[in-house]
């Protein structure tokens, strides 16, 4: 800690910061543009000028840029100094000469950093009376709207997009007051993280194009803290609603998870919630004796009574849960049907993979890092995962991790981390060790030290060889080639030489040996006294939660139904056709007498249900997800959905009540349901604490979801009824659907969004953090459920798999992931449609040659009697003997599971 003097008052500040950071952390108002907490300082905009004095007798002082000046001990500065104030006012006046001042029609209006800083600096009279420079805007694709005239040349966008996120299709052009930020030519921004430009830009140059279609000012949105459902990382989000429609997703800072940024799938995948196809009513599908189906909307009470009769004594009901449903929903289903009749909804393989990850993290000595900590690693091995497409935000963290090792050069010559331009100048293009071993080339390869493409078994073999190179006691495979051994040595040396080595693996290759190989590597490192970390990606937003709850696999569920041991099948938020073979799922529906599906979106599975119950999508309900780190995180209802829509766990509770298994008081609130979870499932102990209970009050008040400027409260429903409706009740959280309540310091898990007086943009965040870039005050949200075991390390996993053997006729299917398309729910969102690839079959050049096919030719893929046709894409990076198929595409269905597939040329007719 150091003492610094600001306007003659002493303050204690943390060492190693610059003055701007220190002032903002102290809650002082100081204007800035080019500085960004994640991007550091470049001292370009001159907006954060303060007066620095030699000592207490110095009355003259000199102007310095606070973002470029270390907050060293005993430094004396003044923010309020007249000259400094005038300087800041002048700077903003110059920046504003070309700004169109079009706030009323600008999407940024009301949450604009430029507006805030203009007001803060006191520049309220525009004197400039001349022509303003204008630009032609570009079409940047479906996500980002471009309005260059508003630009104030702070360079944050290009520093973020190019320097931080590694995008190479966006840049700054021209010079002096004609500077232009955009692309060489109009076109879709290629970076998976382009959406952050919306929050990085201090004004309205880059705005959310999807929000534009149903635009709402920030203060008119109803918001609540939420969790992204589009991958297993559990990024924190703030969804905004107006008139029952989800209008946008914004980042919600969590120092341990997503920090300042989101990926484009998380930001723009939300429109499935607004789909006209949503399941919003109870649907009853009747089939008469002749097999003719009639579909009718049913009354909730009638259906519950009907289902209660079905579930009455004697009937056997089984429940199939889902890794995309909340902990509460899966648990409620288990409670309704009984643990012996509960199935996780994941296939046997998927269950084994995820359980294996959890087991390794629980029994082994290696700690799983938070997403934030992944960025601190200084040597990384990625085994089998296309990180950019499977867990996108992890890729953004890895892009920062490769800066750590070369950063030593900057530290050596005394450059602080925040001095961005100087650090980048010292580091140049040097990158720290990052090794990527995947079935096919990935986008992160461009920053990798070296890459290795091979069939999944061979990737595992490399992993075993690395572990063996670190600790000769760790087993290795037979016939390890010289090439693999050499690569393994290189990787082992890099990991051993690092302070924070990290291995990343996951379920993408559907290969348990890869997961075990990753464990062997970190365990070998831990044995040699290295603080090695192990991170697994999780396939879906609650895969880990579902696995911690446990239960039998989907395969067993199908068998149970086939054997006639289930009268009623209840499926919660799961499209079985995405997971298991079509024939098997068809068989399940044929053999089941009654099928009840609870889901929010229509799927091939809801189409088969006798009764479909409308479930709440994530902004419409409350629940808990457990992310890949084992962090339980609460998502809180943003708005009350219309009709019969409610959380799946509430439907299941209603069924329990209707069947007399529970009385109405049970699980009346989410908190009570979680109490039951903790009681019944020790592995999930802690889920209740990831947010304060509904009874929590701050100074006796609830937390408002609406801004204090929320407009039209009494008028917005006047076309329906002139009486203002009663405020809707929320039994599940301390939040209220109102403008009234406590605004101020709150537990971070309850903060709907970040706002402070004078700070209307995302930059208000500094008012809620303990320090810049650090945790939110009172601790970041989430409770870690998985910590490494104390004591001795478990024995290494046994021998490596045999060398991958190419088969004569069939080819091993390997899943190729796509950030847009591979995930179920976001793929239903129209803004993503043009980014989703069409079905294809990727083949290595030698396989293509063997099949006598070239790019674009059609092949037929056959598996278990089903057939797909797809155009060929020849990929030199793909290993021989495999066929790459896009994971999770609706057209590919279950194709992406690991299977030996017959591939044949379809001759042109």
């Amino acid at each position: 800690m150091a003492t610094i003097y600001i306007d003659d008052k002493p303050y204690e500040v943390k060492d190693g910061q610059n003055l701007l950071q220190a002032c903002l952390s102290l809650g002082l108002n100081l204007s800035y543009f080019c500085w960004h907490p994640a991007l550091g300082s470049v001292g370009a905009c001159r907006q954060c000028a303060v007066k620095q004095f030699k000592d207490e007798n110095d009355k003259q002082g000199r102007l310095v840029m606070s973002c470029m000046t270390p907050a060293s001990a005993n430094i004396r500065i003044s923010i309020g100094d007249a000259e400094a104030k005038e300087f800041r006012q002048d700077v903003i006046e110059h920046l504003m000469t070309n700004h169109p001042h079009d706030c009323p029609v600008c999407d940024e209006g009301g949450e604009c950093h430029l507006q805030d800083m203009t007001v803060m600096s006191g520049h309220h009279d525009r004197e400039y009376r001349f022509k303003k420079r204008t630009h032609i805007n570009q079409d940047l694709g479906p996500f980002i709207n471009h309005e260059m005239n508003r630009c104030i040349q702070c360079y944050r966008c290009v520093r973020y997009y190019r320097d931080y996120a590694g995008g190479r299709d966006f840049n700054v052009f021209a010079s002096h007051d004609n500077v232009y930020f955009g692309r060489h030519e109009p076109g879709t921004l290629e970076s998976e993280f382009s959406g952050n430009l919306v929050e990085v830009c201090p004004t309205g140059v880059f705005t959310d194009k999807t929000q534009k279609k149903h635009y709402t000012r920030r203060w008119d949105l109803q918001v609540a803290p939420s969790i992204c459902v589009h991958c297993g990382l559990g990024c924190n989000t703030t969804p905004g609603e107006r008139y029952g429609q989800l209008r946008r997703i914004r980042n919600r800072y969590n120092g341990e998870v997503n920090g300042y940024f989101l990926c484009d799938r998380g930001r723009y995948g939300y429109e499935f919630v607004n789909s006209a196809q949503r399941v919003k009513q109870v649907v009853y599908r009747r089939r008469d004796d002749a097999g003719v189906e009639t579909v009718e909307k049913a009354v909730k009470g009638d259906v519950l009574r009907y289902l209660a009769r079905l579930l009455a004594d004697g009937a056997t009901a089984i429940g199939i849960g889902s890794p995309r449903a909340s902990v509460e929903t899966n648990f409620a289903l288990r409670a309704l049907v009984g643990p012996e009749n509960y199935f996780t909804g994941m296939t046997a393989l998927e269950t084994r993979l995820v359980s294996s990850m959890i087991e390794i993290l629980k029994t082994g000595p290696a700690r799983t890092p938070s997403l934030d900590e992944i960025g601190d690693a200084d040597a990384v091995l990625v085994l089998g995962e296309d990180v950019t497409n499977v867990a996108p935000m992890m890729a953004l963290r890895l892009r920062q991790s490769v800066r750590n090792e070369p950063m030593a050069v900057a530290h050596k010559i005394g450059i602080p981390d925040w001095n961005d331009a100087a650090v980048r100048g010292a580091v140049q293009t040097k990158k720290g060790p990052l090794f990527i071993a995947t079935p096919a080339a990935t986008k992160l390869d461009e920053i990798a030290t070296s890459t290795y493409n091979a069939a999944p078994d061979n990737l595992a073999r490399l992993g075993y060889a690395v572990a063996n190179a670190i600790d000769p006691e760790a087993p290795t495979g037979d016939r390890v080639s010289a090439e693999v051994r050499q690569l393994a040595e290189t990787i082992a040396t890099a990991l051993k030489g690092a302070k924070k080595p990290l291995v990343i693996a996951g379920a993408s290759c559907a290969n348990e040996c890869i997961i075990q190989a990753a464990a062997n590597i970190v365990w070998a490192l831990c044995k040699t006294e290295h603080a090695a970390a192990l991170s697994f990606t999780a396939p879906e937003c609650n895969s880990v939660g579902a696995a911690l709850l446990g239960g039998r696999s989907l395969d067993e569920a199908i068998q149970t139904v086939r054997d006639g041991r289930a009268d009623v099948v209840i499926i919660a938020e799961n499209d079985l056709y995405r997971r298991a073979k079509r024939a098997d799922v068809d068989a399940l529906f044929e053999h089941a007498k009654h099928v009840v599906v609870i889901d929010h979106s229509p799927t091939a599975t809801t189409a088969k249900a006798e009764v479909t119950l409308p479930a709440a999508a994530f902004p419409e309900g409350d629940g808990t997800f457990v992310n890949n780190e084992g962090r339980a995180q609460r998502f809180i209802q943003v708005y009350v959905p219309e009709g019969d829509v409610q959380e799946s766990w509430r439907w299941l509770r209603a069924l329990r009540v209707a069947t007399g298994k529970a009385d109405v008081a049970e699980w009346a609130t989410l908190d009570l349901a979680l109490a039951s979870v903790e009681e019944a499932v020790p592995a999930l102990s802690g889920v209740r604490n990831c947010a304060p209970p509904p009874a929590f009050r701050a100074l006796g008040q609830k937390v408002p979801r609406q801004a204090h400027r929320y407009s039209g409260r009494t008028a917005m429903r006047a076309n329906i009824n002139v009486s203002e409706p009663k405020i809707q009740e929320d039994p599940d959280s301390p939040l209220t659907f109102s403008m009234e309540g406590y605004r101020g310091e709150l537990p971070a898990s309850l903060l709907p969004s970040f706002w402070a007086p004078g700070w209307n943009s995302a930059q208000a965040l500094t008012r809620f953090q303990e320090e810049i870039g650090g945790p939110l005050r009172g601790g970041d949200p989430g409770v870690r459920l998985i910590e490494p075991a104390a004591g001795s390390a478990p024995a290494y996993f046994g021998d490596a798999p045999k060398v991958f053997a190419v088969r004569k006729n069939d080819r091993l299917a390997v899943s190729l992931y796509h950030i847009f398309g591979s995930e179920e729910l976001s793929a239903l969102s129209p803004p993503l449609a043009e980014r989703i690839p069409a079905l294809y079959a990727a083949l290595s050049p030698s396989d293509a040659e063997a099949l006598e096919v070239a790019n674009g030719d059609t092949v037929e893929l056959r598996l278990n009697g089903a057939a797909w046709r797809a155009p060929v894409s020849v990929r030199p990076d793909l290993p021989r003997g495999t066929v790459g198929v896009p994971a999770g595409l609706a057209a590919a269905e279950f194709l992406s599971a690991p299977a030996w597939i017959s591939v044949e040329k379809v001759s042109a007719t």
Binding site: R168, N171, F173, S175, Y180, H184, E185
Partner: protein, 154 residues
Amino acid sequence: MLTDEMKHEIEAEAGLYEQRQAAAIEALKIVQRHRGWVDDASVGDIAAVLNMTPDEVDSVATFYNLIYRRPVGRHVIRVCSSVSCYVMGYASLREHLRARWGIALGETTKDGRFTLIPNQCLGACDHAPTLMIDDDLHHDLTPESIDAILEKYE
């Protein structure tokens, strides 16, 4: 498409640096020397040769006022507008040229003979006002003397 000659010259430059990208400016100058200016297609071609994206090359190209991203006349006149020349008569020189052809700074004469652009300091303050036509520096100019000089450039 870059000609083989251009590619050859660019390769020679790229070989001088640790990073191929460092040759971007030279590559742009090479293309400009052959073509008179740098068109969009050449930006993409240079990018491909130097392992860059068109965005990265164009960012460099548009930054420098001596890289022309639009067609220019057969001769480029760079009138010094910096302070010494300003004091010594830059304005009257500029007005003379403007009136002669009816074009503003940044424009090209109708016959494609001259392009007129401003330039901040040609480094000949002791002989202000000055201008450059192509690679020739002309100094101690008056509106009268400039006409005779222009005759030499067809």
